[in-house]
Amino acid sequence: MKPSRAKLFKGLNLTAFSLVMVFLYIPILILIVYSFNDSRIISGWQGFTLKYYAQLFSNPTIGEAFRNTMLIAGLSTLISTSLGIMAALGLENKRFKARGGLLALIYTPLVIPDILMGVSLALLFNFTRVNTGMVTVLIAHVTFCISYTVIVIQSRLEGFDYSLVEAAADLGARPHYIFWRIKFPLMLPGIIAAALLAFTLSIDDFIITFFTSGRGFDTLPIYVEGTIRRGTITTINALSTLMIGFTLFLVVITKRIRKILISAL
């Protein structure tokens, strides 16, 4: 390749990279900046303010939506991760005949559009005359999270070196001990990844929650959508900034959690 062409490709690479970065992060940056901008509409910089953050914390509706979101995210993470661990362990045996079929059934929701899942769940709750609210949202969230938790934990188990189990048994460890001292610690990175994924999926789910929450049980995404529809975007900017901060915090502490959990076992 001629040097000029190499240069051209290098330039193209750099451009593509910059474009991706711009489209990914500029909107977020704008959002963060505007959450501190003393203006009711998206316009030029009007001066620094924290009043939207103050509004955010004094608004009882937002507070409730936040609590609902955290409750649903926490519970659905706990339930879907536990079920994910059990499903992955249950489907470990490759000689189990129904393994392929069951895995396919578990993975299918990954490719089903959210709206379809939302509508079908809404239909189900309507059909069974279950009152929509917290419980139905929780069921819906566990339903879509479980596909992800199983796939993450199961892929981690796929590469598991079973000679470690034999080595532990050989050294005198009973099955129970082997599970907690060898297998579980080595599954842990997968379990934590699965839990994080479930948590973030649950926190920002709008479509499925929209169809299964009914009136009177709002999560943050539902609240945000409602507020933007009414045109007040300022507190939403502040809220979004906090959520970004929280997500970054989660990413940072994940590694630490893993280490602490492993040393605790």
């Binding site: 000679s163 470690l164 532990a168 048994a169 050294l171 005198g172 460890a173 080595l186």
Partner: protein, 392 residues
């Protein structure tokens, strides 16, 4: 005293019989090897002793105790795995301490014992490292320390050196022997490498197709192979098939098929009665044969054959000649202890005399289970071609 007794052990995986009626007694403190090509059942046999597989038939005794149905964690036997299987989430200290922690020994005792074991394998200053921070040879040492800390009665080693490079393998082999001497327990060593098995073992069992073909000390198996398989699997050999011409009191006279020469076989090598006119096979190791351009004067035309050099492989410490004698091809190793100008002058197409002592040939018994995996026999029953297994 016997440590491990394998009594009529067979193991079936579905329709496949991996181990077939194996009977072995391994003495206390012995370094015993299972040697055979891949798929011969040696690893399955080892896994049954460890408790990872249960025999389909037969019993395994550890001392007087029948351990056939005990789970691995109840057996006083520990294993070195081929890929070491160190626990990746623990540092080396915790890896070695694993067995004692299960037994809930006091912390101080664990610390002392781990130090002692790490010292035995020369890794005492690396206890805080993790398995992914050390080399293959070091992993091997930690695996040994981890297995020995439980004071097992028997240590099982499953191709422990297969993953190491040649130099390190030779070095670890000597170290394994030193460790065996230091701890004094029974070692059972599984390998497909005949060199490893020969140099390390007190005794070994040659296995093929799930059966023990021959067992005994290495020199015994090398010098007195009981079958074509063990003759070929351990070292190289020349097979001579011929008709028994006459049986005397203490020797028999064999005539080579194409009349090229007479071979005398001494009494010590025919361990069963041989009838006149019957066809027998002899093994003659390549290094036992002398090669010269001059006809030896003192041989009385016995135990000597005239042939032509077909190939010469110079190998530094020795030269390997392929010599054609009639329809047969002979492999001859000539040591370069001293360089004789006569030897050096041997060249392709040269006519040479091969000769040997009458105690150098060994009569191979018929073995009904024998399969010549890599050998082909020609019409008159001679070995036509033999492809040496490549060593990994």
């Amino acid at each position: 005293m016997e440590d491990i007794i394998l009594q009529n052990i067979s193991k079936d995986f579905g329709a496949f019989r991996a181990v077939n009626e194996v009977n072995l007694t391994i003495k206390s403190g012995e370094l015993f090897s299972f040697l055979g090509p891949s798929g011969c059942g040696k690893t399955t046999l080892l896994r049954m002793i460890a408790g990872f597989e249960t025999p389909s038939e037969g019993s395994i005794y550890l001392g007087n105790q029948d351990i056939s149905d005990l789970p691995p964690y109840k057996r006083e036997v520990n294993t070195i795995f081929q890929n070491y299987s160190l626990f990746p989430h623990m540092n080396l200290f915790d890896n070695v301490a694993f067995g004692l922690k299960i037994k809930k020994r006091p912390k101080a005792e664990i610390k002392d014992r781990v130090q002692e074991m790490l010292k035995l394998v020369k890794m005492e200053d690396q206890a805080a490292k993790h398995p992914d921070q050390i080399s293959g040879g070091q992993k091997q040492r930690i695996a040994i320390a981890r297995a020995l800390i439980n004071n097992p009665r028997v240590l099982l080693l499953d191709e422990p050196l297969a993953a190491l490079d040649l130099k390190l393998r030779q070095h670890m082999l000597i170290e394994l022997m030193d460790i065996h001497d230091a701890v004094g327990i029974t070692f059972i060593y599984v390998t497909h490498d005949q060199g490893e098995a020969m140099s390390i073992s007190d005794r070994l069992a040659v296995m093929n197709q799930g059966r023990v073909v021959q067992e005994g000390p290495p020199d015994d198996i090398y010098e007195r192979p009981s079958s074509i398989f063990s003759a070929y699997f351990i070292g190289e050999t020349n097979l001579i098939t011929g008709d028994v011409h006459k049986v005397y009191d203490d020797y028999l006279e064999l005539h080579c098929p194409d009349g090229t020469g007479k071979i005398l076989v001494l009494d010590s090598s025919f361990h069963k009665p041989v009838a006149e006119q019957s066809r027998i096979t002899l093994s003659l190791r390549p290094e036992k044969i002398a090669i010269s351009r001059h006809k030896p004067r003192h041989q009385d035309d016995i135990n000597m054959l005239k042939g032509q050099i077909e190939d010469i492989l110079y190998l530094g410490s020795h030269t390997q000649y392929i010599v054609r004698v009639g329809k047969l091809k002979f492999r001859v190793f000539s040591q370069h202890k001293r360089v004789y100008f006569d030897d050096k002058a041997l060249d392709w197409e040269d006519d040479v005399w091969l000769f040997w002592h009458d105690t150098d040939t060994w009569l191979i018994e018929d073995n009904p289970f024998e399969v010549l995996a890599d050998a082909e026999l020609d019409d008159s029953g001679n070995l036509k071609r033999y492809v040496k297994r490549s060593k990994i």
